[in-house]
Amino acid sequence: MAYVLQSYKKIRQFFIEIGELSYFAMRYFKEALKPPWEFKELLRQCYHMGNRSLVLVGVTGFIIGLVLTLQSRPTLQEFGAVSWMPNMVGISIVREIGPVITALICAGRIASGIGAELGSMRVTEQIDAMEVSGTNPFKYLVVTRITATMLMLPLLVIFGDMIALYGSALVENLKGDVSFQLYFNTVFDALEFGDLIPATIKSFFFGFTIGLVGCYKGYYSKKGTAGVGIAANTAVVTASLLLFVVDFIAVFVSDIFFEL
C-alpha cells in the first residue's frame, strides 16, 4: 500500500512539474514579446554561452568525426564502399550526430551553469533584490538566457559539424589519400537542403529546451545552498532527457515535410 501511495505521489509530482514547466515556457513567450527588452544582457549571455562553449564543442566535434570515420572504415572497406565514406559521415553528422552531441554537451555546460547561477541568486536573495530595485527578474534573467541559448545553439551546431567533418577528412586524407578538396566536394554534393534545414530548426528547439530547463530549475531553486546543487544536477538530467524527446518529434515532423 505504501509503495502504491509513494508511486502515486511521484507520478503526481511528475505531472505537476510538466504543468509548471509549460507555464514557465508560456510566461517566457509572454515576457519576451513585451518591451522593454534587455539587449545588453542578451548580448552578454550570447557571448558567455557561445564563445565559452566553442572549445568544448570544437574538441568534441573533431573527436567524433575522427572516431566515426576510423570505426566505419573497415566495414565499408569490406564491401568496397570506402568512396561512400564522405557521404555517410557528412549526412550522419549534419542530420543527427552533430546537433544531438552538441546539444548534449551544451546541456551539461549551459543548463547546469544557468541552474547553478540562478539557484544561487535565488538563495542569496539577489533575485528579490532585483525585483525590489524595479527590474522584472524574469525578463532580465530568464528571457535573456533562454533567447541566448536559442540563438547560440544553431551556431554552435554548425561550428561543431564543420570541425567534425575536418576530423573525418583528416582520417580520410591520412588513411585513404583523399584530398581535403575532394572530400568536402563529395560531402557537399551529398548534402541537400532537406538535411540542413531540419537540423538547423531542431537546433533552435534544442537551445530553447536547454535554456528553459536550466532557468526553470534555477529560478525555483529551494532548500538553501543544497538546492543550488540539486538545481544544477536536475537541470542537466532533465534537459538531456527532453532533448531526446524533442529530437524524436523533430525527426518525425521532418519525415513528413522533407521525406527523409
Partner: protein, 260 residues
C-alpha cells in the same frame, strides 16, 4: 519616573506624526505553517522602528510583504498612503524607488562590480533621477557615505562581510529613498563591524531624514537605533514600547529577548 513620563510623551507625540507604513491584521501561511496571525504596526515619518522576534517568527515575511515580494493571505498594507495589494506593476515599481531594502545577506549581484551594482537601480529609475549621463559622481557619493569609495571597481567576492553590507546600504541609498527596510542588518557580523553598521545606519537616518523599519534580534542594535520597538511573537505583535520600557518588563516572553 520623570524619564518614563518623557518616553510616554514621546510615544504620544508619534501618533500626531504622518504614518508612512501601516500594517493591519496581516495574515500569511505557508501550507499548515501560520507565520503571521494578524500582525499590525505603524511606522511614522522620520522614525526608527525596530521589530524584534525569534528566528522563524515571520519578521522577514512581513517585511517582504511590504515591498510586494510575498503576497499576504489577508490584511491591510499601505506604504506612503498606497495600498500595496491594489497597485499594478508599474506603480509598485515607482513606489519601490522610494523604499530602500537592505537584505540580510547583502544580496549584491555576484556577476557585477560594485559600480555596476550601484548603477543597476539607477538605470531602472531614470525618471526619478532625471537624465543622468555620467553616473560616476552619484556612485562615488553613495560609496563615500559608507566609507568605501575605493572599492568602486572591485567584485563583491573581493569584499568582506561588513564591506558587502555597507556597499548594499550604498546601493539602497543611491535612489534617495524615503523609507529604508533593514532585514537583520547585523546578522553574521562580528561585534565591531556590527557596531560600525549600526552607527552608519544612524548617520544615514540623520543625513537623509529617512524612516527606518529594522528587523532584528540583535538587542544591542535595537538599544542604539530604536525609538520604538515592537515584539513579534507567534505571528502577532505581542508588546510595543521604547527600549527602556521593554527591557524593564517582567513578562517572561519579553524578558527572554533581553537576557544576556
Amino acid at each position: 519616573m520623570e524619564k518614563q513620563d518623557y518616553i510616554s510623551e514621546q510615544i504620544d507625540s508619534l501618533d500626531q506624526r504622518e504614518p508612512v507604513i501601516e500594517i493591519r491584521d496581516l495574515h500569511k501561511s505557508f501550507g499548515d505553517n501560520h507565520v503571521l496571525n494578524g500582525f499590525s504596526m505603524t511606522l511614522y515619518k522620520g522614525e526608527n522602528l525596530v521589530v524584534m522576534g525569534k528566528s522563524g517568527s515571520g519578521k522577514s515575511v512581513m517585511i517582504k510583504c511590504l515591498v510586494g515580494l510575498i503576497q499576504p493571505d489577508s490584511g491591510f498594507l499601505s506604504v506612503m498612503g498606497k495600498e500595496i495589494k491594489t497597485l499594478d506593476r508599474k506603480t509598485l515599481d515607482a513606489l519601490r524607488s522610494d523604499i530602500g531594502f537592505l537584505f540580510q545577506g547583502s544580496a549584491l549581484y555576484d556577476s557585477m562590480t560594485v559600480r555596476e551594482n550601484l548603477e543597476f537601480p539607477m538605470r531602472r529609475h531614470k525618471e526619478k533621477l532625471g537624465n543622468i549621463r555620467d553616473t560616476t559622481p552619484l556612485v562615488l557619493e553613495a560609496l563615500e557615505n559608507v566609507g568605501l569609495a575605493h572599492t568602486v571597481d572591485l567584485m563583491p567576492s573581493e569584499l568582506s562581510g561588513g564591506m558587502k553590507r555597507r556597499v548594499a546600504l550604498a546601493r539602497t541609498l543611491i535612489l534617495k529613498p524615503k523609507i529604508i527596510l533593514y532585514d537583520e542588518p547585523t546578522s553574521g557580523l562580528d561585534p565591531i563591524t556590527s557596531k560600525e553598521i549600526i552607527q552608519l545606519m544612524g548617520r544615514v537616518q540623520k543625513k537623509y531624514g529617512t524612516s527606518s523599519l529594522i528587523i532584528t534580534h540583535d538587542v544591542d542594535c535595537a538599544r542604539v537605533i530604536s525609538e520604538r520597538m515592537v515584539l513579534l511573537v507567534e505571528g502577532k505583535n505581542y508588546i510595543e514600547g521604547s527600549y527602556t520600557e521593554l527591557s524593564k518588563s517582567t513578562d517572561p516572553k519579553v524578558e527572554a529577548f533581553f537576557k544576556k
